[in-house]
């Protein structure tokens, strides 16, 4: 069993499934389920492709970090497909390629291969958003994504001209031994901007409003939960293992990220539509994830991504199904939604309270430890920002929840099918479970921190 199968089998299934259009949703379900199962049998190793070892060939890296990332992304992908594939059959081949692309992003150890797989999963994302039936929003997403990838490639080529290699581990060893920090600041800034477009960081996220504000049951969870988690993991791998920051560059990047968080929370506070509230909260959470990785806390960054992805999956799935049925997503139209759907309401409440960071939920454990580690390093500005934005988040989520549980006449009638209820309940229970019984989370996070710092550039 080799991890290359995680990329090769979905690709093969995609190439074959265009001939058997009727059977393609079942092939998709089977392959995505298989990729979750196969993760249990993979040994942790570096896999060489083609017989030429790195840095002269391409290698895939399967260490503890990528194994957790693969588990999270593949499981959430399978859950979304299980719920939404009944309605969107035409798009199954695209979803198979998206699965291969996402696995490729998380596994690869070579910077140009990362660019190719980001393009593969990016184009799959553009096609998934065409189910929104808003071609102008998809076009904006396409232009923004292509410009971002081009900037990333420009930064990568400048680094190649300076150091002569494309492999991640080799590049970080060369940078560390050459001692140049100011000269590499400019290419790093370009690469950061390129990845930041996809991760919805501030000046480059104009596409996010068009796509997620009109999303449906497949697009919303996929882009906001699965893709956001994958890009977050890529940021974590690059920021902690490859990049080296001079102080000025670190300052610029921290300013960009803090501006993202503040703007995201402010716009969510001011919005009156459920999907818009959720999407601005997503933007702020992406900024928070990158901030944590910039400060160097790998383990807790990973768990922030996990908590965030699971929570946003629940929130988007419930909100999108309701807005599909009701035709609108104004908060006024949703008033009293949960009175007749108590189970769904409880899951939504759990997910939003975890996002704020209240005790008893996974979000609380993650935020407490992050704040503790930040205070220990002596920094006071960043914890202050995190606390203030958490309070703002708490206000608007609680306001939303109160409106949705409010009992009055003319309650909106929305039916939720069984599979969706089952999935969101299981995820909500897991969030609560790990919030209360948090010892395994803490040991794993410290484990990842130790392993990554010790190995440094020799992934």
């Amino acid at each position: 069993m080799s991890a290359i199968l995680l990329i090769a089998i979905p690709l093969l299934a995609a190439f074959i499934s265009i001939l058997f259009k009727k059977a393609s949703p079942y092939i998709l379900l089977f392959v995505s389920f298989g990729s979750v199962i196969i993760l249990g049998y993979l040994p942790l190793e570096t896999i060489t492709i083609g017989g030429f070892s790195a840095p002269y060939g391409i290698n895939l890296v399967l260490d503890q970090y990528s194994l957790i990332a693969l588990y999270v992304v593949d499981t959430l992908f399978f859950l979304i497909v299980a719920i939404a594939c009944v309605k969107y059959k035409k798009i199954s081949t695209v979803l198979l390629v998206a699965l291969a692309g996402l696995n490729g992003i998380l596994l690869t150890g070579d910077l140009f291969n990362l660019f190719v797989f980001i393009e593969v999963s990016g184009i799959a994302a553009y096609l998934i958003t065409t189910t929104n039936k808003k071609p102008l929003a998809t076009f904006n997403y396409l232009v923004a994504g292509t410009v971002g990838s081009s900037l990333y490639l420009l930064g990568l080529i400048i680094l190649y001209a300076m150091f002569g290699t494309l492999n991640m581990a080799d590049m970080s060893a060369n940078i560390a031994s050459s001692g140049l920090t100011t000269a590499v600041a400019f290419p790093f800034l370009l690469m950061f901007i390129g990845l930041g477009v996809e991760a919805k960081l501030l000046p480059f996220n104009s596409w996010a409003k068009g796509i997620l504000a009109h999303s449906n049951k497949l697009t919303g969870p996929m882009i906001a939960s699965v893709y956001a988690a994958a890009i977050g993991f890529v940021f974590g791998r690059l920021l902690t293992s490859v990049f080296v920051f001079s102080d000025k560059l670190g300052l610029i990047l921290t300013i960009i990220v803090i501006a993202t968080i503040v703007a995201g929370e402010a716009m969510a506070f001011a919005s009156g539509k459920v999907r818009e509230i959720l999407l601005f909260s997503s933007i702020a959470q992406s900024g928070l994830v990158v901030l944590i990785f910039l400060q160097g806390f790998v383990g807790w960054g990973v768990f922030l991504i996990v908590a965030n992805a699971a929570g946003k999956l629940i929130l988007f799935m419930i909100a999108n199904h309701a807005s599909d049925e009701l035709g609108t997503d104004e908060v006024k139209a949703f008033k009293g939604l949960f009175v007749n759907n108590k189970v769904i309401g409880l899951a939504f409440t759990v997910a939003s309270l975890s996002a704020i960071g209240l005790p008893m939920f996974l979000g609380f454990v993650v935020k407490m430890n992050i704040l503790g580690d930040l205070f220990a390093t002596g920094d006071y500005l960043i914890p202050a920002v995190i606390l203030i934005t958490s309070i703002v988040e708490g206000i608007y989520f609680v306001r939303l929840l109160m409106k949705l549980w409010y009992k009055e006449d003319n309650l909106p009638v929305v039916q939720y099918e069984f599979v969706l209820k089952y999935v969101v309940v299981v995820l909500a229970v897991l969030i609560m479970l790990f919030g209360v019984y948090s010892a395994p989370v803490e040991t794993t996070a410290n484990d990842i921190d130790a392993n990554t710092i010790v190995e440094g550039g020799n992934l």
């Binding site: 184009i123 065409t130 001209a161 300076m162």
Partner: protein, 248 residues
């Protein structure tokens, strides 16, 4: 006002890029790149897994990577995983165009002008020549510049010539889809065979022969022919999708 701000921004950004590159002591000036410090030196000498000594055209046998064209050796042998990703990008783009523009009953798009008889007949003669050129470039990818991607594009442009010269022509799309699917699956299956029989995914299993002959370089001509067919059929499918519309 907005145009002026955009102009100032792009001028500033260009100026910043140029000064950052000229102040960068590790970035070599144009024309002074030192290939021996880069990874490419081992690609040129074919010495990644052991040193074969000096390589002479038409005399060196069974090198670790057989093509005489070093760029082909990189694209199809050393870094063939990137080529697999690239093939997937084209596949999903043509699939996306078919999803966006496709419909069930189709006929050629109505245009204002109609090509005349001489154009229709003359283009058929030219079609064969362009097709032959495309196949030649695709097969000789390991000896001359080119390879599967330009070859496939030439094959597709011969189809485009037929579409433009005759406003009632439609190719057999079903055949293209089968060809595309078969070629793509064959590429992944070759890779998986490398994993099962050899020990690495996409390993070159056949003998690499003598450098410079047509039958050399192991599996690379086969891979390039598959890629040429795939690219040709995909782009022809895209052309067909753009030039048809729903029939009433």
């Amino acid at each position: 006002m907005k145009n002026f701000l955009a102009l100032v921004f792009t001028l500033f950004l260009g100026f910043m890029i140029i000064t950052a590159l000229s102040n960068n002591e590790a970035f070599p000036k144009y024309g002074e790149a030192d290939v021996s410090t880069r990874v490419s030196q081992k690609y040129l000498d074919r010495s990644v897994n052991g040193n074969p000594g000096e390589i002479i055209f038409r005399e060196a046998t069974n090198l670790e990577s057989g093509p005489a064209n070093t760029v082909t050796a990189i694209v199809a042998d050393y870094r063939s995983f990137d080529t697999l990703g690239e093939v997937t990008v084209l596949f999903i783009s043509s699939l996306g165009v078919a999803l966006l523009l496709g419909s069930t009953k189709q006929r050629r798009m109505e245009l204002d002008f109609h090509p005349n008889f001489m154009l229709k007949v003359g283009s058929r003669a030219l079609f064969g020549i362009i097709l032959m050129t495309g196949i030649y470039i695709s097969i000789h990818g390991h000896l001359t510049p080119g390879g599967g991607f330009p070859g496939g594009t030439m094959i597709a442009s011969s189809m485009l010539l037929l579409y433009l010269a005759d406003d009632e022509f439609r190719a057999k799309i079903k055949g293209f889809k089968i060809l595309e699917s078969a070629a793509g699956s064959a590429y992944v299956i070759i890779g998986l065979l490398g994993l099962l029989i050899g020990s690495y995914f996409l390993e070159n299993l056949l003998n690499n022969g003598v450098l410079g002959y047509l039958f050399s370089a192991g599996m690379i001509p086969i891979i390039y022919v598959l890629i040429g067919l795939k690219v040709g059929s995909e782009i022809s499918g895209v052309i067909d999708n753009f030039l048809t519309e729903e029939s009433v």
